[in-house]
């Protein structure tokens, strides 16, 4: 599944640079993740980079966007193809 930033977020921005998919953007109070761009780092890293760096553990699985590892890999392949095009 994609990841979600909850309201514990302090908008510190360290997840921005860590995201290889550029799926994170600044919101008014908290940052947000675009589920269409989030692969949980599948294709890039063994662990989700934003989860790894979030100092307040505000990044959790998004229950509204449940995806298997295969689906995340397929999303990654699609994103890479779009990028290359």
């Amino acid at each position: 599944m994609a990841l979600l930033i909850n309201d514990l977020c302090i908008a510190c921005d360290v997840c921005l640079a860590a995201c290889p998919n550029k799926a994170i953007s600044a919101g008014e109070d908290i940052f947000t993740i675009n589920p269409d761009l989030c692969t949980e780092c599948v294709g890039h890293h063994a662990v989700s980079q934003c989860v790894k760096v979030c100092p307040v553990r505000a990044i959790v699985p998004d229950p509204a966007h449940r995806e298997t590892k295969d689906e995340l890999q397929a999303k990654y392949d699609r994103l890479m193809a779009q990028k290359a095009a």
């Binding site: 514990l8 302090i10 908008a11 510190c12 921005d13 360290v14 640079a17 890293h45 063994a46 662990v47 790894k52 760096v53 979030c54 100092p55 307040v56 553990r57």
Partner: protein, 774 residues
């Protein structure tokens, strides 16, 4: 009594199970006999000294044999993580503690990156290392499993190569499922200014930890496996948001540390003409090293585990690299140039024009890396006469690979350069090296020679001990910028700022700003609000930077805050009073300590805990032979006045300084020799060793200005007590050996049979001269 005997005695006081929620074990590691033992510290250690630095000191006090040399494997090297390390934003840190091989004081180095958090989440709060391994060893910790791995394949590797080799051999990735505290060839060669590395740049720098680890034949400590949560996130989560918000909304964090890192500090010191230059012969240097000159080479920032700041500026000078992160971030920040506000608007429009160290278009691995911090910028810039930012970057990257403490190594080179300038040493001594100020090529070469102890590098490797080891004549000591044998950590020349100077003189690990730096001494907003300033420091502190008035309160309060911060694992940059009055304070830490440990903590008790931690450090230093005379400053600062800037003519007045120092002792609760006084000393002794006997002396003796000595060794009888007194006060041996001084225990004179006279903790003993005459 050897280390194993001391440990046997100590273990009786330890536990087999955790004493509070989230408590990690102490892992005792006998490297020589390849044995380990896991125990838990008593609850009262946490209640009175917290963890990390504080609990390290408790362990060291109980295990040290002060008469042994620092590099003796009987002297333990102790690592400790803060209690909140890995559980609170910016609490990423831990301390290595021992007796320093580099200085005359304790070794206590604080560092972050990922190792402390990984260790704590694997279930360990402390690792106590002793004994020399029979061959080079890598200690591998993976939760319950501890292995002694043959480190022969890694010997000779430096900081860039070693983690890559470990990742390859153990199929792991640093920072994801592996963290590593390690030494380089400099540590293997027992270079006294070598640190213990915790990442590409992260270093436990001060006091010679690399040499100490090398003396145990320990190449590194590897924590293998991804970190786990210590407990469900929920109990701490809401208040972690409060703490995180405090950090990231603080101006200096948001505008400076997150954008360019600590090099922002270069300009304010330069503008104040308080920048140590050419070994502090001068105090002002080139604008070319202002932080914006690094903009074109700064691709981004990096940070420690779960830190929202990411203050570590990266650098990349290669053709493939890019820069621009934080470009012009400091423009218009008048607080960053308070003594010449126009300087805040000055930008240098520095071009990205590096073409390789030899200007030939050739680049190597030292043309990119992490850093520099302000310390490295100052020590490898003005202090040794370097003015090109690219040269500072390259030296920074080499230092990181070689695992050298830039503060001590840079100061050691600056000392040598001044000796060379004055003719105290010549090219005959340097092996032909021209040590003229700013001679970049020689300095770069000298770093590699230092790590290998080759040629004149062997002298730099002896750091501040070069005279003691016969490398320089005694006259060289006049130009050695040390306190307690440790070179200054910070590039700032503290002849102006008297609280800063006091802090450097009384710092328990030697001349180091990180014990107390009272930055707000020159903060205009704070100085314009005397009531606020007094409340921040628990006393009235003069608004004048160069006044001595009330500065003792500033140092005391900062020492308390920072000792608590270190012991919970909080980064100094994000602790109240270091950079700002708005940052998280010990009251915030108390909230999270309560949540995590289940032990109730309140803000009011945190100050006393901070004082306890510095108290035990003063007691340790006393055992190492340090006295009030060692709480001083380099000769130059007393005798040579500043020649430029808004405070030209300023120096440290000896009389005023000594009076300020004694006031500091009084507000701290130290006696005139800098040792915890009276009942506080007895209380600390009971907490540390479980034993305290107050001995009243018939008169003041050297080292005992209160006419009192507290014996904290577990002696059993009056004969042993006499021996313990001699160990405690060797300078008073002739008096203490006076056979006409009888012993009285709890008011009862012992007229014979001292060996049979039992002594128990809590007894009151007096030495009583026999009345003679007729």
């Amino acid at each position: 009594m050897g280390i194993r005997d001391k440990l046997e005695r100590l273990v009786v006081r330890l536990h087999d199970t955790p004493q509070y929620n989230s408590q990690g074990a102490v892992l005792f590691v006998d490297l020589e006999q390849r044995r380990t033992l896991k125990k838990y510290l008593p609850l009262e250690v946490m209640r009175n000294f917290l963890g990390g630095r504080g609990a390290n000191m408790w362990l060291l006090y109980n295990l040290i044999q002060e008469e042994r040399a620092a590099l003796d494997p009987e002297v333990p090297l102790i690592f400790g993580t803060g209690i909140l390390t890995s559980s609170m934003p910016s609490a990423t840190r831990g301390n290595f503690t021992s007796k320093s091989p580099e200085s005359d004081a304790i070794l206590d180095a604080n560092g972050g990156d990922y190792f402390p958090s990984f260790l704590r989440t694997h279930g360990y709060d402390h690792v106590v290392l002793y004994g020399r391994a029979p061959s080079w060893t890598l200690l591998k910790i993976a939760y319950e499993n501890v292995d002694f791995v043959d480190a022969a394949p890694y010997v000779g590797m430096d900081n860039l190569e070693l983690p890559a080799a470990i990742e390859r051999d153990f199929n792991c990735t640093e920072r994801e499922d592996m963290a590593l505290a390690r030494i380089t060839t400099a540590g293997e060669n027992q270079v006294l200014c070598a640190g213990i590395m915790g990442g590409i740049k992260a270093i436990w720098a001060r006091g010679g930890g690399g040499a100490k680890m090398g003396s145990l034949k320990l190449k590194g400590i590897m924590v293998h496996g991804a970190p786990r949560e210590l407990q469900p996130v929920e109990p701490m989560a809401k208040y972690n948001k409060v703490i995180g918000k405090k950090i990231i909304t603080t101006s200096v964090i948001k505008n400076a540390l997150k954008m360019v890192g600590t090099p922002f500090l270069y300009k304010p010191s330069r503008v104040l003409c308080a920048l140590g230059t050419k070994n502090h012969q001068e105090t002002s240097w080139k604008e070319s090293l202002d932080a914006d000159n690094f903009d074109p080479y700064r691709p981004g920032m990096d940070g420690c585990y779960l830190c929202p700041v990411h203050c570590r500026n990266q650098n990349d000078m290669t053709p493939e690299g890019h820069g621009g992160w934080g470009a012009a971030a400091l423009k218009g920040l008048t607080g960053n140039a308070s003594y010449d506000k126009a300087q805040a608007s000055v930008e240098h429009a520095k071009a990205r024009d590096y073409t390789g160290v030899h200007h030939d278009g050739k680049f190597d691995k030292y043309d990119k890396g992490d850093g520099p911090e302000y310390v490295t910028l100052g020590k490898f810039g003005p202090l040794i006469g370097i003015k090109e930012p690219e040269q500072v970057l390259r030296l920074n990257n080499i230092l990181n690979d070689l695992g050298l403490d830039s503060a001590s190594c840079g100061s050691s080179i600056a000392w040598a350069m001044e000796l060379y300038q004055r003719g105290i040493i010549t090219q005959k001594d340097t092996g032909g090296l021209d040590l003229s100020w700013g001679n970049y090529a020689v300095i770069e070469k000298l770093l590699f020679m230092t790590a290998k102890r080759e040629g004149f590098g062997d002298t730099i490797a002896d750091s501040a001990r070069a005279v003691e080891r016969g490398k320089y004549p005694a006259a060289a000591l006049d130009y050695r910028m040390t306190v307690k044998g440790l070179f200054q950590s910070d590039p700032h020349d503290a002849r102006i700022l008297k609280a800063f100077a006091l802090g450097l003189s009384v710092a328990t690990r030697g001349m180091d700003h990180l014990r107390s730096r009272p930055t707000l001494e020159i903060n205009a907003r704070i100085n314009d609000d005397p009531a606020l300033k007094a409340s921040l420091y628990n006393g009235v502190v003069s608004a004048k930077p160069n006044s001595y008035e009330g500065k003792e309160y500033a140092v005391r309060k900062c020492e308390n805050n920072f000792a608590v911060g270190d012991s919970v694992g909080m980064c100094r940059f994000n602790t109240k009073l270091f950079n700002s009055p708005s940052l998280p304070d010990p009251g915030d830490f108390a909230v999270q300590l309560t949540s995590l440990t289940g032990q109730p903590f309140v803000e009011a008790e945190m100050d006393e805990i901070g004082r306890n931690i510095s108290g035990i450090e003063h007691m340790l230093n006393f055992r190492l032979g340090l006295r009030a005379k060692d709480d001083t400053l380099p000769r130059r600062w007393f005798e040579e006045a500043l020649t430029e800037g808004p405070f030209a003519g300023e120096k440290i007045d000896r009389t005023e300084f000594e009076a300020m120092k004694q006031r500091f002792y009084t507000v701290t609760g130290l006696n005139a020799e800098g040792l915890p006084a009276g009942e506080w000393h007895e209380k600390l002794s009971r907490l540390i060793t479980g034993f305290a006997v107050r001995v009243d002396l018939p008169r003041q003796l050297p080292g005992a200005p209160e006419q009192v000595v507290v014996i904290d060794e577990n002696v059993t009888d009056a004969t042993e007590l006499r021996k313990a007194l001699l160990r405690k006060l060797p300078e008073a041996a002739s008096d203490l050996n006076d056979s006409s001084w009888n012993i009285a225990v709890n008011g009862e004179m012992v007229l014979s049979g001292e060996k049979a006279t039992r002594i128990r903790s809590g007894d009151r003993v007096a030495l009583v001269p026999i009345i003679a005459g007729g």
